[in-house]
């Protein structure tokens, strides 16, 4: 994720996932090994047929080729679900070379097409996912019912089979304590919110994912439009809250918080994942507000991913216990912030 794209100061990423199944085959949960194998061959053959070339270069990766750590890294990069990582039975990933398209085979459904764009590009993500869907549909018979739409393993996905979401960074709404009111308003209009919280009520990293909850009885267009317009409003609220914080006497407190976090990230030797998430959020806000100019937002986005446990182990290529992870995490952050020499004996 490059930290680019429209409204990238607030929307980290936009994602659309489409769930599809093949006609007549039992869903992965009940399928025998042989049945799963058949589905995998059928779907990866479409993936390898060259039809996807018009979209990009794709690679097919059987999950059985990957070790536990490699799978975990894919999970942390949001390219596969934990579900697929755990139940590797004949699962596969068809991945585009820029990693914006990941196609999961034999997850909860036979086929899950996922498009992930940086910034606020939910329409673009839907259009691409739908194009890929059309390509698979030309060569594979989908389980589709006139009344119920696309038939999925879970009743929460039936109909369009689409899950659209935007990941938003909302520090100012959290700091000004408007967030709960806004989140509860969001759930009133058929959207779901997921936040990752620390103890108390403060969201970890101030990251919130907003997604559609309904997949049946609304067209894909309505679903995407609804999410788009709600996200747009949240962006405006967050911007307004940031501006107000910068204008009032609260500015000095905000600056203090941003620079304090920047200082700690640049110099700390031990950093747990919770603190890292919060400090990275502060610095990211500082960059977006123009308070910090010598760090790029891309670096911040990278760090949000890189500092997660699986990634850390992968980066350092060894098994790490929790204390070691906290030390490595601090080290990694210092390096990325260009403070490598601070602990090298100046």
């Amino acid at each position: 994720m490059q930290g680019t794209g429209p409204d990238a100061d607030i929307v980290i990423s936009s994602r659309v996932r489409i769930a599809r199944n093949l006609l007549g085959h039992p869903f992965p949960m009940l399928a025998t090994n042989q049945q799963s194998q058949e589905v995998m061959e059928r779907l990866t053959s479409v993936g390898n047929s060259g039809r996807l070339n018009e979209i990009g270069r794709f690679e097919t990766i059987p999950l059985s080729d990957l070790n536990e750590l490699e799978r975990r890294v894919l999970v942390e990069k949001h390219l596969i679900s934990p579900n697929l990582a755990n139940e590797s039975r004949c699962g596969a990933l068809v991945l585009s070379d820029n990693e914006s398209v990941s196609i999961m085979v034999n997850e909860e459904d036979h086929l899950r097409i996922q498009c992930l764009y940086p910034g606020f590009q939910i329409n673009e993500a839907w259009e691409l996912a739908s194009r890929i869907d059309d390509i698979f549909e030309e060569e594979a018979d989908y389980a589709f019912d006139e009344r119920r739409g696309f038939l999925t393993s879970c009743p929460t996905n039936v109909g369009t089979g689409i899950r659209a979401s935007v990941m938003m960074h909302l520090p100012a709404l959290v700091m000004t304590q408007q967030i709960n009111r806004i989140l509860s308003a969001i759930t009133q209009v058929g959207l779901a919110v997921r936040g990752m919280y620390g103890e108390g009520s403060e969201a970890l990293g101030n990251l919130f994912q907003i997604s559609n909850q309904i997949t049946l009885g609304q067209s894909e267009h309505e679903i995407i439009d609804n999410l788009h317009s709600v996200a747009k409003q949240i962006i405006e609220h967050e911007r307004a809250a940031r501006e107000r914080m910068m204008q009032q006497e609260s500015r000095v407190r905000l600056e203090d918080r941003v620079f304090r976090s920047y200082g700690i990230l640049s110099h700390a030797s031990i950093m747990d994942s919770k603190e890292a998430a919060q400090r990275l959020s502060d610095v990211r806000l500082g960059i977006d507000l123009g308070l910090i100019r010598d760090v790029s937002p891309q670096v911040m986005n990278e760090l949000m991913v890189l500092t997660q446990p699986g990634f850390l182990q992968h980066t350092f290529n060894e098994k790490l216990n929790m204390d070691q992870r906290d030390i490595r995490r601090a080290e990694l952050i210092r390096q990325h912030l260009g403070r490598k020499s601070d602990h090298g004996g100046v």
Binding site: N21, P26, V75, P82, N83, E146, T187, R194, G200, L216
Partner: protein, 173 residues
């Protein structure tokens, strides 16, 4: 806040769900959330907590929503073998045929999850063409029936031929 599942670890993941104005909150620790397949790392998997769904389904079964068939548990999909009872425990279908087999029993569940029961979105191009044809055949059959009832046999014969024609193209595709 303590995890509502294990009652031991602090709750670090908070979910809100709103079904037709009825709000429910969930507070889980990471490990319980992961067990529920709801780790934050899987936003793509959308919002579906198995236990919630299965609670919802259990709620539907005892009284029998339709009230007509006494033992919905005895319902079994003849393609994959999943029973309605298993379905309501797992909150998952075994195959696409289950949707037919469990039939109208699903309406109240879908209504609660989505507020709707009928798809209005995208239709696959290939099998979707078939759906259009079948729909047309269905309409023509009704028309044929009416025409015969009114003893308009000449017109009925034309409709019959048209139906045959369409049925051939359905069979061919």
């Amino acid at each position: 806040m303590i995890c509502q599942e294990c009652g031991k670890r602090p709750a670090t993941l908070h979910f809100m769900k709103n079904v037709n104005g009825e709000k429910t909150e969930f507070h889980f620790c990471e490990s319980c959330a992961r067990e529920k397949g709801e780790g934050l790392a899987s936003p793509a998997s959308g919002f579906s907590i198995h236990s919630l769904l299965s609670g919802l389904l259990d709620f539907e079964t005892p009284g029998g929503v339709g009230g007509l068939s006494a033992k919905p548990q005895a319902l079994r999909c003849d393609n994959c073998g999943l029973t309605y009872g298993q379905f309501s425990k797992m909150g998952r279908f075994g195959c696409s045929n289950c949707y037919d087999q469990f039939g109208d029993k699903l309406d109240p569940i879908l209504k609660r999850v989505h507020g709707n029961t009928v798809h209005v979105g995208k239709v696959p191009k290939r099998s979707g063409g078939q759906i259009q044809l079948k729909r047309e055949i269905e309409n023509l059959r009704h028309e044929l029936h009416d025409l015969i009832g009114r003893e308009e046999f000449e017109h009925a014969a034309k409709i019959r031929d048209r139906i045959r024609e369409l049925e051939r193209s359905v069979a061919e595709t």
